[in-house]
């Protein structure tokens, strides 16, 4: 059923007033301690069912709510052959027709207002103009003056239409017109329906309003019951729709549906609160309790699912908006270091208020800590060791330079005449011979022609080898030592 049709049906239900009924009211304490007037079932009202037995009507409601409606069962046009009437499959008492019949006097006024040709909008406009006039009894002249945007003759014609529809009563003695009570309701409902389409997000609110309207109109309680079932059906539809969109991975539609479902859940909670007194009349009915449980189950399930969907999608959206913002401790430290203290304080200054309680110092803990501090052993540095006499050794004589010694020894040898180097180098052991050879080369490098040329020895290296064969030396490259001609002895100091 389309939303607009659903609303139209609910308004029709709301207008099912028990004409001429006697209504008993009672006052009973409610939880808050206040008293609330509560309407009870009409005592002498016409009722299609035996008093207190609403089972057939509820069976019908159950049938209507649960039965799938095929396209072939859509409402057909009223243009039918004269005398035709739908045939019923059960006695009329078991159908909603008796209830609907109660609504017909006012519903027919709607038909008289809007159901006759192209003049409907003019009639509705004139009716609404008349409904807001401060005077109750209106002569035709006053009516014509109040509808200044229309010619007086046209206004007169429309007034006649409204009178024929039962919306205006005519007092022939005073020659005045007066809006009937029903006409005021019709004008108000027409005003409330001044919208091109029904906003689906507000549909539970609208159904709740029709329940209040039905209550105000003294409509039978079953009408509110039917509206309640209709509201549950909307929640169930929302739940199915959310499940379907979750499977479709359609984020945008999913979020929109979840938000709508959430608002429906809130509205349904309000509806249950508002109509608690009315529903209390059905608490003895097992079927109603079942529907009541169904409603609360849907409120919980749908509310939870919608909240999870919204939370999840909003979180994802938040992540997308923040882009690659990933906060590290290093970032945080950098941010706080660059911000001034006033900016940082502004983060929490609006909400962080000091507590009222006075934080008393814990004297026991303080003195215990002080006692512990004072009783700690003081750590002193270690004392230095006892002084002792240090043994003092005389300094060694400077060692003679082996190169100098070698130079002197070679000069002494040369002074006696030419001689082979091996005569000085080969001295008894191999290590000693090697050491003397190194010293001789060092002395020649330092004091020979390549050095300061102060050594009075001339080395002449021969190509021959001389055989030694003793004192651990086998062969020696023959090197002759001579005294250079025309040179004075070297100063050894």
């Amino acid at each position: 059923m389309a939303p607009l049709e659903r609303i139209a049906q609910e308004i029709t239900n709301g207008l099912m007033s028990g004409a001429g009924s006697v209504v008993a009211t009672s006052r009973r304490p409610v939880e808050s301690g206040r008293y609330r007037t509560r309407r009870q079932t009409p005592l002498l009202a016409y009722s299609p069912f035996p008093q207190g037995d609403s089972a057939p009507f509820e069976s019908y409601l159950l049938y209507v709510v649960k039965r799938p409606v095929g396209p072939e069962e859509e409402l057909q046009s009223d243009r039918l052959p004269d005398g035709w009437e739908p045939r019923l499959t059960m006695p009329e008492q078991l159908t909603p027709l008796p209830l609907v019949e109660q609504a017909l006097p006012i519903v027919t006024m709607f038909a008289g207002l809007v159901g006759r040709g192209k003049l409907a909008r003019y009639r509705v406009a004139v009716l609404r103009e008349l409904a807001v006039l401060p005077r109750a009894r209106l002569p035709i002249r006053a009516i014509q003056d109040s509808v200044q945007w229309m010619e007086p003759s046209s206004a007169t014609r429309l007034v006649r239409d409204l009178r024929e529809a039962g919306l205006l009563a005519y007092d022939s003695r005073a020659e005045t017109y007066q809006l009937t009570r029903e006409a005021r309701v019709v004008a108000a409902v027409c005003g409330a329906l001044t919208t091109a389409r029904v906003d689906y997000t507000r549909i539970i609110k609208i159904l709740a309003a029709t329940m209040r309207l039905a209550d105000a109109m003294n409509a039978p309680a079953q009408v509110a019951y039917a509206t309640f079932l209709s509201a549950i059906a909307i929640l169930e539809f929302d739940y199915d729709e959310l499940g379907r969109l979750l499977d479709d991975y359609s984020d945008e539609s999913l979020l929109e549906a979840a938000r709508m479902a959430e608002s429906h859940v809130e509205d349904m909670r309000s509806l249950l609160d508002e109509q608690a007194d009315m529903f209390a009349r059905f608490h003895g009915d097992a079927q109603f309790l079942e529907h009541d449980q169904r409603a609360h189950h849907m409120i919980a399930s749908l509310g939870r699912l919608a909240a999870e969907v919204i939370s999840s999608l909003s979180m994802r959206a938040g992540m997308r908006m923040r882009g690659t913002l990933r906060v590290t401790r290093e970032d945080l430290r950098g941010m706080t270091a660059q911000s001034d203290t006033d900016t940082l304080a502004a983060l929490v200054s609006g909400s962080a208020q000091a507590p009222v309680f006075m934080p008393a110092p814990d004297t026991v803990a303080a003195f215990t800590a002080l006692d512990g501090y004072l009783s700690r052993e003081r750590r002193r540095p270690l004392p230095p060791p006892e002084p002792t006499d240090i043994r003092l050794d005389p300094a060694d004589a400077p060692e003679a330079d082996p190169a100098d010694s070698a130079a002197r020894a070679l000069e002494e040898l040369v002074a006696a005449g030419d001689i082979g180097l091996h005569e000085w180098v080969v001295c008894g052991t191999w290590e000693g011979a090697v050491g003397r050879m190194i010293d001789a080369v060092e002395a020649w490098s330092r004091y020979g022609p390549a050095g300061d040329n102060s050594m009075l020895v001339e080395l002449d290296a021969k190509r021959d080898l001389c055989h030694i064969g003793q004192r651990e030396v086998g062969w020696f490259s023959l090197t002759m030592l001579r005294k250079p001609a025309g040179r004075s002895p070297r100063d050894a100091g």
């Binding site: 999870e308 939370s311 999840s312 979180m315 994802r316 938040g318 992540m319 923040r322 913002l325 990933r326 906060v327 401790r329 970032d331 945080l332 430290r333 950098g334 941010m335 706080t336 270091a337 660059q338 911000s339 001034d340 203290t341 006033d342 900016t343 940082l344 304080a345 502004a346 983060l347 929490v348 200054s349 609006g350 909400s351 962080a352 208020q353 000091a354 507590p355 009222v356 309680f357 006075m358 934080p359």
Partner: protein
């Protein structure tokens, strides 16, 4: 306990919710809220510590406060903000990162990492270390912070901070900081190129 007794208990300190089951009743809670509001106080519930206490609705007028040990000045609030950023904002932000796409509805409580006092002092170089120590001491006494084993963690009064508002402001600051850092890096790159031998063409282009 009667609402009056509850008010006395709340004004005396932080009370565990299990000792005040009466506050689970809407009527009693409203009565307590009303009585506290008459004295300029709010009823405060700490979600993390499941406890109740009372806080001032607003800070006391400065002229009226001569020497209040509990009053928090702007420097104390700055230190509190830094602690909140490290203890609550950082874990919450990182817990929101989509670790696993399948975990669509996972909502675990962010893990709080205790904070060193030196970390707080390092985060506010504008304040001396002594000043930070004083502020941390005041915040500990006011139960905004707790100290366990030498480290700071959030106390029950930390839950009074309006996290939604503070988080939005912190994100703005963080984004601005990151943008500034990026601009600075971009500014340094051309100058670094200009100092490279042979990089004069870029400088000439910039001059043009």
């Amino acid at each position: 306990m009667t609402p009056v007794e509850i008010c006395r208990a709340l004004l005396a300190g932080v009370v565990s919710a299990e000792h005040l089951p009466e506050l689970g009743d809407d009527d009693v809670r409203q009565e307590v809220q009303y009585r506290l509001s008459q004295a300029g106080c709010d009823l405060v519930y700490s979600r993390h510590f499941d406890s109740w206490t009372a806080s001032f609705t607003r800070g006391a007028p400065e002229a009226a406060v001569i020497d209040s040990p509990t009053a928090l000045d702007s420097l104390d609030l700055a230190v509190l903000a830094v602690c909140w950023l490290h203890l609550r904002f950082l874990p919450a932000e990182n817990s929101r990162l989509p670790v696993d796409d399948d975990a669509l509805f996972a909502a675990e409580e962010p893990l709080e990492i205790p904070l060193e006092e030196s970390e707080v002092a390092g985060s506010i170089p504008a304040l001396s270390r002594t000043r930070v120590t004083i502020s941390v001491g005041k915040l500990k006494r006011a139960r905004f912070l707790l100290q366990r084993e030498g480290k700071l963690s959030a106390g029950p009064m930390m839950d009074t901070i309006d996290e939604v508002r503070a988080t939005e402001q912190a994100r703005r600051l963080m984004l601005r900081h990151q943008r500034l850092a990026r601009l600075q890096r971009q500014g340094e790159e051309p100058s670094a190129q200009a100092t490279v031998p042979g990089g004069t063409n870029g400088a000439a282009d910039a001059a043009d």
